[in-house]
């Protein structure tokens, strides 16, 4: 290890952390603006052109706000909780590559922080640590709304993590590797979202639940729990929760892009053309950023459209629909890959059967909901 390696790490970490934190600030702007347009409003437009200085104004306001610690709160845990929430949200992207390896002045740069063979395992591990922050925040506040928010959060994360993990297993099966870079390279010709559409949909729904975003924002349901686990937080500590939530959105969007939409690689039809990342490495971050923005658009779109789940239906959906469907899809993918070793044409088993399974799940869900409605009337 030379000083050049150390310098490379420092620069890469700085890019990642600053990118996530700056991205978080402007993601709030993006969300507010987009949500406003979907609700036929303008959104922030007073601070600078198009309200572009709004995140800065928000930050200044939050920094100068008074910070309260309730007398009955567990002080140490109360202060620890926002930190525990924000750190995993930032370190989770360490294994996500932004571009293929490239050379500058004869020095080979690996554009990701950690090159570990079990990259996916790292992502799942870090993603679940973030729950601790929320639960501790809820409990240490000594407030019934906060505690309920924290409890809901645990229950929700435990239920949806299963489907999340299983749809990641599909990706591992298809790519034949747990190394994130190899998974991206395996999607050079066709995205896993096309090979396994149902898996991609399950993954996206589960990540929405994992992010506590509408329609799964039970832990912070404003109308029921005022603000859930962060009611008692103010000033910079509240800003940290906010920061965690939004930088996690970016992180998860980049993970969705990487696992199912080809990561930094160009779309399949551009493979081998001059727009390929194999020709110009710097197109990698452009493709990745474009995909992240589109996925974030989807998340905001879902928030603008869908009402919040009822809590029991949320759990029922997680355990009775998502989990069996995810298991079935892992099974189908494994069978398809096994058959394809004799004849590649059998690969078609995977998309066809899993889309069929997905439609059956939708149909059954519809049937059971209709039966409940008819039982009421």
């Amino acid at each position: 290890m030379t000083w050049l390696n150390v310098l490379e790490w420092i620069i890469k970490s700085l890019i990642l952390v600053l990118g996530l934190l700056g991205g978080f600030a402007y993601l709030t702007w993006y969300e507010r603006k987009l949500l406003a347009r979907m609700q036929v409003r303008y959104g922030p437009n007073r601070t600078g052109k198009f309200g572009l200085l709004q995140p800065i104004a928000d930050a200044v306001k939050l920094i100068f706000k008074e910070e309260l610690i309730p007398t009955q709160a567990e002080k140490v845990l109360f202060i620890l909780a926002p930190i525990l929430t924000v750190v995993p949200a930032i370190v989770i992207t360490a294994t996500v590559p932004w571009a293929p390896n490239f050379t500058i002045f004869g020095y080979e740069v690996k554009p990701y922080i950690a090159d570990i063979d079990v990259g996916i395992l790292y992502i799942t591990a870090i993603a679940s640590i973030a729950v601790y922050g929320i639960v501790i925040a809820g409990w240490s506040s000594n407030n019934k709304y906060a505690t309920l928010g924290g409890l809901r959060s645990t229950a929700q994360m435990v239920s949806y993590e299963l489907a999340l993990g299983l749809s990641m297993v599909v990706v591992i099966l298809l790519a034949g590797s747990m190394n994130v870079k190899e998974i991206v390279e395996a999607q050079a010709h066709h995205w896993f979202a096309l090979v396994q559409p149902t898996g991609a949909v399950i993954f996206m729904i589960a990540t929405l639940a994992e992010l506590n975003r509408a329609p799964f924002d039970m832990p912070e349901a404003e109308q029921e729990l005022t603000a859930g686990y962060h009611v008692e937080y103010s000033g910079m500590k509240f800003a940290l929760f906010f920061m965690a939530e939004y930088s996690k959105m970016i992180a998860i969007a980049s993970i969705i892009a990487t696992l199912f939409f080809g990561g930094y690689r160009e779309p399949g039809f551009l493979y081998g053309t001059f727009l390929s990342v194999d020709k110009f490495w710097f197109l990698g971050p452009v493709y990745l950023l474009g995909k992240i923005l589109l996925i974030l658009f989807g998340m905001i779109w879902a928030r603008a459209t869908l009402p919040r789940f009822r809590y029991d239906r949320l759990m029922a959906f997680g355990w009775k629909v998502m989990l069996p469907l995810a298991l079935a899809i892992v099974f189908v993918s494994a069978i398809g890959i096994a058959f394809a070793q004799s004849n590649p044409l059998y690969y078609w088993i995977i998309p066809v059967v899993s889309v069929g399974l997905g439609l059956i799940a939708v149909g059954l869900l519809d049937k059971s909901l209709r039966r409940k409605i008819n039982a009421v009337h």
Partner: protein, 172 residues
């Protein structure tokens, strides 16, 4: 069909929110863009003048008597032909309305024998100090109309003896 229909319903919802991005926002950009007030809107009071610049208010204090919130204070003084503010014997030397007390009922308007006080269209009434809520005569009175002269005026003897103008058939 059972399998497709829920998805179609789902995408119909998504389509609605997506298409509303391209609609014109209904927001009114308030300080720059003011919505017109209703025809009979009751805003801040205005003290009116005659075309020659004389004040309509004769200091009778009927408005103060009619005011249910006791927001109006009037003090009258004598007019002379050398120093005339309004037709007739007297004029309002002090006229104050406490805008924090006023309930904008418009009774003062009804009580006024000369139609001197009228509730206008201005609704941007906010202050940093409670004392600023008391609007004086200078703040309430209309500017002198074109062709009129500012008060006090020197007027010919015997021309403005009558304080209440002779009304034609009442319009309202």
């Amino acid at each position: 069909m059972r399998f497709i229909k829920p998805l179609l319903e789902f995408s119909a919802g998504l389509k609605t929110t997506f298409l509303s991005i391209f609609e014109k926002p209904v927001t009114v950009q308030y300080p720059e863009e003011l919505r017109p007030v209703a025809k009979r809107f009751r805003g801040r009071h205005e003290l009116k003048r005659y075309d020659n610049g004389l004040e309509k208010c004769i200091g009778c204090a009927l408005c103060a008597a009619a005011c249910p919130a006791d927001a109006i204070f009037v003090e009258a003084a004598e007019n002379t032909d050398e120093e005339r503010y309004s037709p007739g014997e007297r004029y309002a030397s002090t006229y104050q309305i406490n805008m924090l007390r006023c309930i904008y009922c418009g009774f003062c308007e009804d009580a006024c024998p000369t139609e001197a006080i009228q509730l206008g269209e201005s609704y941007e009434l906010s202050y940093y100090d409670r004392k600023d809520a008391i609007f004086t005569k200078e703040m309430l009175i209309d500017p002198v109309p074109a062709g009129g002269a500012p008060t006090p005026q020197v007027t010919p003897k015997g021309q403005f003896d009558r304080s209440v103008p002779e009304m034609q058939d009442s319009q309202d």
